[in-house]
Assembly symmetry: C2
């Protein structure tokens, strides 16, 4: 199917899917999990073909690893779908209710967004996860996966579409795009696609963000900071720095830059250096850092770099304000932490840093939908509107205003013969 | 000041403004109202100069009317500011609170968006209203008004900036752009401007939406429908159609297209024609409409046209589904109503119509922030994310996640030696 036809078909299905009830959506999710399990051998075989093609064409080892969709990954995906069934439906929640006048009641009710465009690189598990998140939240989805995973994506998408449609979900709600040209056209489809969710490398996400006027839910960089305040417990600060940098180095909420108040630099930096170098971390410091400990010199480029590697930049600052200014200038609005015993300083830091996640006395690695207890994670957003930080299912819904009257017209309110009561209904 | 410098200055001020407390913002709003009142003579004199220039350059009468900022409009603006003081602060609200583990508490807290770019045509009252809404919600603002109102805008902006800054608001939070080239540059400033709020004609708003990758809060068209269902009370439907079309013809929530179920067309249409033509409304109908009543023939273009005039298009449909399909195809996602005695049909209509405002048995003219009881209206949005329909102050805020720990690192949770409690705090 041509991409325009596919998008129009998905958009049309989205309008019917918006009215499908919770029980029906949950039944469809269970049917999807069962069908994926039943088709397990074919899915794994399709993936083995993609893996073989990938090895033949010389795909790098980390890409092969991401491309892999074996029984273990399949079972993890099935667990994900089955726990999604247990989550409350994000659609149909009454967010506020107000009587405007007797017999004229206004309800603000959550509803699906419409058609979500999902563009991801080679990980096939992303296809399963995001399409079932879209279904649970009543959205249609137009998917474009990496061409390396073409066979796997095709069988996953057709299994999900068939099982859900047999279970009563409006046909056409899930569409698969396959070519690079399709992506370029998707980025311009602001008449059909309501939200883009890109998954992949920083460069990939940045390309999507810069080339579409459709809103994007996601993040490109994660340049995360820990600021060690004048009143920091040095031991706690070392533990938080080591965890942030080393616990999982290749992720967006890993620590990239350490900011150290001049008043604690002499005691903190040698302890931090010992602990970090023990784990193989290479340090890059500003002049003042290098006057206290041995480190490579940091350049201006370091302050904006997401290493995703065992490298850490360090800067000594004179004040909390300087730290906040540095973060707001060089950071990416992802996750930034302060270590301090001073509650007032912590509040100033958390109010002043313009990031989706602002932490006090804990590791930046906590910014994650699972750790936050969101139940399911759509992604982490560094946008400034709609949804920020780890985004659960609520990032895939919006609301509409339902006004239920008994024949009211505006004229008598406009000429003053009637007036509004504006009374909350049911305490909302 | 150059527009880039102005934007950078406002962005920088926005970071400090985010931490300013409610009492301080309210004091500044009162200071602004007092200063505008004190400068009333100079403001009215500046406006008279704009009006004179406008008349000399042959500005059309409706534009002159919008340009006018006399004592009456000034007092209305002052009332608006003083009632804004009474509204609750949208910033700092705890939207959810969850214990992740003992001594590790997560708070989702509302916060300002940052720098709002406001682009409006010739109405100077829009400058006062939107800049004070931004201040109340802790946002900095970069304003570009119509060049016809240059003198009025300058004195209003400088009065507001001086009074608020003297009252302790971070300097630079309000900036005024003046040239058309500035607008083009604002549309590209996605590094500084977080949200655009355009106010003006449909063409103007559409131009802004189509030429910027910055999110836009607003609406271009308002092609609103009333669907008269098979189970409609014909008298109620006539009243709602007349009010929707005639109560105020030049506004976005006015009725433009009437959809009539075939089963009631024979009784409803003659009654509607009589009532509408009595008020001077010209009717344009589909073939089936014209088989029942006299009307001009409607073309395909009519179904997508916002007349903003005493013209109404009418189409006979076979079913509720056809009505919903017509609205989702030709409407603008603004406000659409059903008239019916059948509650099930009403729910199907309200769930199926993909508009920000979906009404049952009342006039489309109710979709308005004041009538909804929002307290202050930022605008009406037809976007599908962030904020939809009439938008109050909450459309100018987003949230950040504050995580308050006591030294926690992720490692023990990742290796399974500790687990999360994920317990709601204070019932939220």
């Amino acid at each position: 199917m041509d991409i325009s036809t596919a998008a129009a078909s998905a958009k049309s299905a989205s309008l019917r899917l918006a009215a499908v009830g919770t029980a029906e959506k949950n039944r469809a999710l269970e049917a999807i999990a069962d069908a994926l399990e039943d088709n397990g051998s074919d899915i794994v075989a399709a993936n083995e073909q993609d893996l073989e093609n990938g090895r033949e064409s010389g795909l790098a080892a980390p890409l092969i690893k991401r491309l892999k969709f074996d029984r273990k990954k399949l079972f993890a995906a099935l667990d994900g779908i089955r726990s999604l069934v247990e989550l409350p439906d994000p659609v149909g929640r009454v967010l506020s209710a107000r009587e405007l006048d007797h017999g004229l009641d206004l309800y603000k009710v959550s509803c699906p967004i419409g058609l979500i465009g999902v563009i991801f690189e080679s990980r096939p598990d992303a296809l399963v996860q995001i399409s079932t998140l879209c279904l649970k939240s009543g959205n249609a989805v137009l998917l474009k996966g990496g061409s390396e995973a073409a066979h796997t994506n095709r069988i996953l998408a057709s299994t999900i579409a068939q099982a859900s449609e047999a279970s009563g979900i409006p046909p056409g709600w899930l569409q698969l795009a396959e070519t690079r040209a399709d992506v370029d056209r998707m980025l311009k489809m602001d008449d059909h696609i309501d939200l883009l969710v890109p998954r992949g490398s920083n460069e990939f996400v940045r390309h999507i963000m810069e080339n579409s006027s459709i809103p994007v839910l996601g993040h490109a960089d994660g340049v995360c900071h820990v600021y060690v305040d004048a009143q920091a417990d040095a031991g706690m600060a070392v533990d938080i720095a080591v965890d942030g940098k080393c616990q999982y180095v290749a992720v967006c909420n890993a620590l990239e830059t350490l900011l150290v108040h001049a008043g604690v630099a002499e005691t903190f930096l040698p302890a931090a250096k010992a602990a970090l170098e023990e784990r193989g971390v290479q340090l890059r410091g500003c002049e003042r850092t290098r006057a206290i400990i041995d480190a490579e010199p940091a350049t201006d480029a370091d302050w904006k770099t997401e290493y995703l590697d065992l490298i850490l930049s360090i800067k000594v600052v004179e004040s909390l304000d300087e730290a906040v200014g540095h973060i707001n200038t060089h950071g990416s609005g992802h996750t930034d932490a302060i270590v301090t015993a001073d509650a007032g300083a912590a509040e100033r830091f958390m109010d002043g840093v313009d990031s989706g996640n602002v932490f006090w006395n804990c590791s930046t690695r906590f910014s994650d939908g699972y750790r936050y207890g969101l139940g399911a994670e759509v992604g982490i957003s560094t946008a400034k509107i709609h949804a920020r930080g780890p985004v659960g299912l609520e990032g895939l819904v919006i609301y509409k205003w339902k006004l239920k009257g008994t024949g009211q017209i505006v004229a008598p309110y406009a000429d003053g013969t009637r007036s509004f009561t504006h009374r909350p209904l049911n305490g909302r």
